[in-house]
Symmetry: C2
Subunit: 353 residues, 2 copies
Amino acid sequence: MLSGREGVRIPVGTRQRILDAARELGYRPNRTAQSLRTRKTQTIALIFDTVGDGHYAGEMIRGALETALERDHLLYIAETANDPALEEKLLQEMVDRQVDGVILAAMSTRTARLSEHMRRIPTVLLNCLDASGESVCVVPDEEAAGRQAARLLLDAGHRDGVHVVGGHPATGGAHEGLSVGELRMSGIEAAMAAAGTRLAGTVECDWSAPEHGYRATRSLLESARLPTAVVCCNDRLAIGAYQALRESRLRIPDDISLVSFGDSGLPSWLRPPVTSVDTPHHELGAKAVSLLLADEPAPAIHRLPMAVNPRGSITACAPDPREAVPASTEPGAIRSAQPRPLRRAGAHGGGHG
Amino acid sequence: MLSGREGVRIPVGTRQRILDAARELGYRPNRTAQSLRTRKTQTIALIFDTVGDGHYAGEMIRGALETALERDHLLYIAETANDPALEEKLLQEMVDRQVDGVILAAMSTRTARLSEHMRRIPTVLLNCLDASGESVCVVPDEEAAGRQAARLLLDAGHRDGVHVVGGHPATGGAHEGLSVGELRMSGIEAAMAAAGTRLAGTVECDWSAPEHGYRATRSLLESARLPTAVVCCNDRLAIGAYQALRESRLRIPDDISLVSFGDSGLPSWLRPPVTSVDTPHHELGAKAVSLLLADEPAPAIHRLPMAVNPRGSITACAPDPREAVPASTEPGAIRSAQPRPLRRAGAHGGGHG
DNA sequence: CTGAAAGCGCTAACAT
DNA sequence: ATGTTAGCGCTTTCAG
């Protein structure tokens, strides 16, 4: 009766008294014994390739944890460090402890190789796909994200002066053969085309560090026609872009608009805060858990929408940008050449980038 | 015999044959059954108050995981979001699953309140202390960190021009009644005193965002006597300081030296990289696990040394800074007034801050 | 419809 | 020194 057996006929008062007594005595069913019998442990393994700088992982963990808790499950966590042997060992340990399912999470979207274990236990791939296409996968919808970013700019009137910093690097993983960069670019281009226009240009560069964004943006500013808006393919590039723009005395968003794809939570430290299309880490983690715990984990790729976070780095663009923003070939002093060493100590004073 | 019973007399060949067969058949002892019998699960609960921005947590998790794995344990993870009710529930769930021990980790050092559960199960407090002083605690040695930071500067010849940005805010937790800021300041002051000198000044400010560091540093630069070196109490303040220095055309480390206390992994993105005294997240996690798994978890506070990471933001200081750095009351143009809008596209091009 | 009994797979205590 | 047995605390099956 304590285990919740149905159809028991006990006076309601008595029943309640029993339950109360049980609680008062601090009775807790022994989950280990339950598990031995039912072969279910109410636990899930969350295995990362690498926890990385943590931000990505942090939100994912939170999302997964919340959903798991709602469904009365607890989370194991582990990290493979991209070591196949370690991955195998961890998977084995998890299986030994009879986890009810495994979530294999990758920090940067890529194609995963499936271990044997994963054919014998419910598995969800998080932020990665497998070659066979027989797995349940959860990934951000990068192509839609590209369209979202472009729409932000288009809706503000930017049509002819939109440049991209980042582009389609070969590095990084793939969704169905396409890299994150390719997908985002494809989305951006599609949205521009749908609006009857196209990108003014794309600077292809490494996404890994701010300095690449800095250099790419500088090269943009040296061109004959100044951009009205720049799309940065990730946060690090955006930091570099901020730096380059600040050095050129171009103000955001007054002189130029900026959109970024957020993946690190860093944009909130930029001044002014950058409007970005952010990877839904939290939702990815939550979705992975709920799929794992669903009755029929039908093989499929679940693409989650990215979140648009307007933070004021976009300004309406005049119909003809040539009148609003005069072109310049002088890299040294594009706009106000006035040196303003110790500027603004106000609310935005901590500005950087 | 499979469970490793001692004193069994079996021909060596046979013994090996059995083991081989077992492996070939894929035999794995059922850990759940083991646990039911032995009341040990080879698992540890790692419970954070908040995973925060993740960096802190990421390294801690890694450290804990490595050590746990070495000792054949797996890690549960959870987050209480500083909600006592949730903490209680999670603790209960962990106890129900018979974890062998609990690590209670705080993101920012503070004093913890002990739940009843923790008196009945081995517990280690990570990055926090409890009022009773009866727990096993692992914390960074903040006072030593202060001395380390000061020594870096003193060894480079900085004696009379060292300023601190941050100070001793009342906010944040405490080690034996002292906040992180108080401890660090105390260490800095002790080291300066030991060297026969003292701080030129301290700007007390909020540690939470770059803009406070920016403003504090600006105020420093407006004073009559220019600092030869600045100590920033955390990464965010350092970012703000970088920004202020850059706007003043002061070069790091040529014109001014900088040291920071690292807590976010962010310093690596600053140009030039900032020399910092870093919280040993990884070691904290590892130590917590090994203490938890030790035979006698004697109540004690374990202070772990912080790691010094020289990254080139400190330069030797002339014996008399007054000759090396002329004072100025003009905030507008302290040093080279030359506007250099699009500077250096080279290796350090991505610089920001 | 309800109570009793038989295990889940292992380890520890027990006889041989 | 080795083989045997009795549970760990629960769920499920099977009689009653």
